[in-house]
């Protein structure tokens, strides 16, 4: 137990350190940005600029602003959006996080379930037609960028066939189908490939032979002993999978005009909206760091072998 406390403590410390470094890096990078964050900046006079700078505190020395910003972030205050009529960034992102999370969860769930299923099928038919098919599918999924898939899906199912909405977030579940499909390509390919490799190794192990000698059927072996052992390490790739989903959502949300974090981020990038960019970066980093942390913990809880090593 004591070891656990220490382990979690160390991990939390490094998570905080990571976030601190990222926050600082983002802050200084943003302040090195050329141009100003204001609308119609070309038409502003120097006097107007000075007034705006004073209003947003950009006239203070850099270090002073840095310390202020860090303090504010700790209190959950991420500043105000310079583009959206001084709305607090926290509120702005709060409204937009829902669709992003919903899409992300749907994509991970759908993608992994299908991917795992295909991976098991492939491993059971190692080096035969079905395996080649599944592997080819997985490798295609990894090779075709999700924004290309998104555009393709939009073109086929929304523009040409008109079965599903072309974008936006106003038709409930129907609006989520195409973006979810586009985003799920990556977790699908990733988990299919991962499970196949794991399962091929597992299925050739002695305990599977023993299960066969017990008189179990191949399918039952694959889905009980095989999948048990193959699924546990899949947890370790959940972290990277989340990252690829986040990056995917940056563009996919844009393509389908979904009011999520990613779409907000691209908008902010193109308009130098400092505080929003910083807040999204910190949010993404926090998400990533905690997903990695949680999967590590989960892995140790679930795998009895690791669990015991931890206790020693």
């Amino acid at each position: 137990m004591k070891r656990w406390t220490k382990y979690i403590g160390t991990r939390l410390f490094y998570m905080a350190l990571t976030l601190f470094i990222i926050t600082s890096a983002t802050f200084f990078l943003m302040n090195a940005l050329p141009g100003t964050p204001y609308n119609n900046q070309d038409r502003l006079t120097q006097v107007q600029l000075d007034m705006l700078n004073k209003k947003y505190g950009f006239d203070q020395p850099l270090m002073q602003r840095y310390v202020n910003y860090l303090g504010n972030v700790l209190h959950g205050d991420f500043g105000v959006s310079l583009q959206f009529s001084d709305q607090p960034v926290a509120t702005l992102l709060g409204q937009r996080i829902g669709p992003s999370i919903q899409l992300g969860l749907q994509a991970v769930a759908f993608g992994t379930v299908i991917g795992v299923f295909l991976g098991v099928i492939a491993a059971m038919h190692q080096n035969r037609a079905l395996d080649v098919f599944c592997s080819l599918f997985a490798i295609t999924g990894r090779s075709v960028p999700n924004f290309v898939v998104a555009v393709l899906l939009q073109f086929i199912f929304a523009v040409t066939l008109k079965w599903l909405p072309i974008g936006l977030w106003d038709e409930g579940f129907r609006s989520t189908i195409l973006p979810t499909l586009a985003l799920s390509i990556s977790p699908m390919a990733e988990s299919c490939r991962f499970i196949r490799t794991e399962m091929v190794e597992v299925l050739s192990s002695d305990y599977i032979e023993l299960a066969r000698a017990k008189g179990m059927s191949e399918i039952r072996i694959a889905f009980t002993h095989g999948l048990r052992n193959g699924l546990i390490p899949l947890i370790t790739v959940l972290g990277p999978m989340t990252v690829s989903l986040m990056t995917g959502s940056l563009v996919v949300e844009n393509i389908f005009a979904i009011p999520g974090i990613g779409e907000q981020f691209t908008k902010s990038i193109l308009s130098n909206d400092y505080y929003t960019i910083m807040a999204v970066t910190i949010l993404f980093s926090a998400l990533l760091v905690s997903v990695i942390f949680l999967t590590d913990i989960l892995y140790q809880i679930i795998d009895p072998r690791v669990r015991i090593e931890g206790a020693k």
């Binding site: 002695d206 305990y207 066969r212 000698a213 179990m216 059927s217 002993h225 048990r228 795998d303």
Partner: protein, 350 residues
């Protein structure tokens, strides 16, 4: 007595990139109810393949070229996969070589035993668990109730092999195939596991096929011994016959290379050369190139199994009446001598 298992003229080959490997070539043997038959030979001689053929657990590139495996008169090689699953673990159970990897590392060992129980009989979960605990007790795991819920890594190698044995016993099989069950264990563990297998056999009356490359292990457990070389049985007989009156030069070599208390270690014998590859084996006796007693006849044809006694057969041309008389190595003669004295002493005491 009707044999429980009859293997007739079985040949098994594997397709590999290098060519067709003839792993088992025309072997036949019987197994009587309640007896222990040991299959002995160097690695790669086909003993494991034979057992996997009986269990129908061969890899996908294996072909059964000829022969039959009759279990209580039914040919196992003609059974459907579904029928075979009922026999595997139910009627014929198997123990594997490496207990460290034979158990699912992510499943409680009790559940792995209970799984084997429920696969072959309609019992409730609770009864399956009860049976699993009882099996754990039977194979000598202490505190079975508690250990039921533990994972394989919480057990030592010897204990794990006991658990594997418990799994094999789950459905009261008629035949237990033990594929080198002690090879991966240290010497004290080996003895314990051998004792356990003997004990179980006494209690349940199962037949055992015991695969090993170690004649020393065989001496303790086997009723009959079949010596295999390059995919063939080259000598088969009762344990006494094979140990004390061996007729095949390969068996001589095996016995001579077995250290006993009497041999001084400097003269420990080793069979020269290495086993042949079984890809397109040349005609004639596969052992001939390593055989100091080889005859020209070995080059022409593979020797048949000549009967030595009603229970003892050996495949060497030396047993042909036309063959020259040869003397087996000294240690083998000494053994035979010792044995005869013991027998006559026994006879005298009776």
């Amino acid at each position: 007595m009707e044999p429980i298992l009859q293997v007739n003229h079985l040949s098994v080959s594997f397709d590999t990139y290098a060519g067709k490997v003839e792993a088992v070539r025309d072997i036949s043997f019987n197994l009587q109810p309640g007896e222990t038959l040991a299959l002995v030979g160097e690695s790669g001689c086909g003993k494991s393949v034979t057992c996997r053929t009986i269990m129908r657990l061969l890899a996908r590139n294996a072909n059964i070229d000829q022969g039959s495996v009759l279990f209580r008169g039914d040919d196992l090689l003609k059974k459907s996969n579904r029928e075979m699953r009922a026999i595997r673990g139910g009627k014929i159970a198997m123990i594997f070589q490496d207990p460290m990897t034979s158990l699912d590392p992510t499943m409680q060992i009790g559940r792995q035993i209970a799984e084997a129980v429920t696969l072959h009989s309609r019992v409730s979960r609770r009864d399956a668990k009860k049976r699993a605990v009882q099996l754990l007790h039977q194979v000598g795991i202490e505190n079975p109730e508690k250990r039921y819920r533990q994972y394989p890594h919480e057990f030592s190698g010897g204990q794990r092999q006991r658990i594997v044995i418990a799994i094999a016993l789950a459905a009261n099989p008629d035949i237990l195939i033990a594929d080198e069950p002690t090879t991966a264990l240290d010497v004290t563990m080996q003895a314990q596991i051998l004792d356990l297998i003997k004990e179980i056999q006494k209690a349940t009356g199962t037949s055992v096929i015991f695969i090993t490359h170690d004649l020393g292990v065989v001496a303790n457990v086997a009723d009959r011994v079949a010596v295999m070389y390059a995919g063939r049985i080259i000598e088969i007989g009762t344990a006494d016959e094979v140990f004390y009156d061996p007729r095949h030069p390969y068996t001589w070599g095996l016995l001579a290379s077995m250290p006993t208390l009497a041999t001084d270690s400097e003269t420990l014998y080793a069979i020269p050369g290495t086993p042949p590859t079984l890809i397109h084996p040349a005609p004639g006796d596969a052992f001939a190139p390593r055989n100091a007693y080889a005859l020209e006849a070995d080059r022409i044809a593979d020797p048949p199994l000549f009967p030595v006694s009603a229970t003892h057969l050996a495949a060497t041309w030396l047993l042909d009446p036309r063959a020259p008389q040869v003397q087996p190595p000294e240690s083998i003669r000494l053994r035979a001598e010792e044995y005869r004295q013991k027998q006559s002493a026994k006879g005298a005491s009776l």
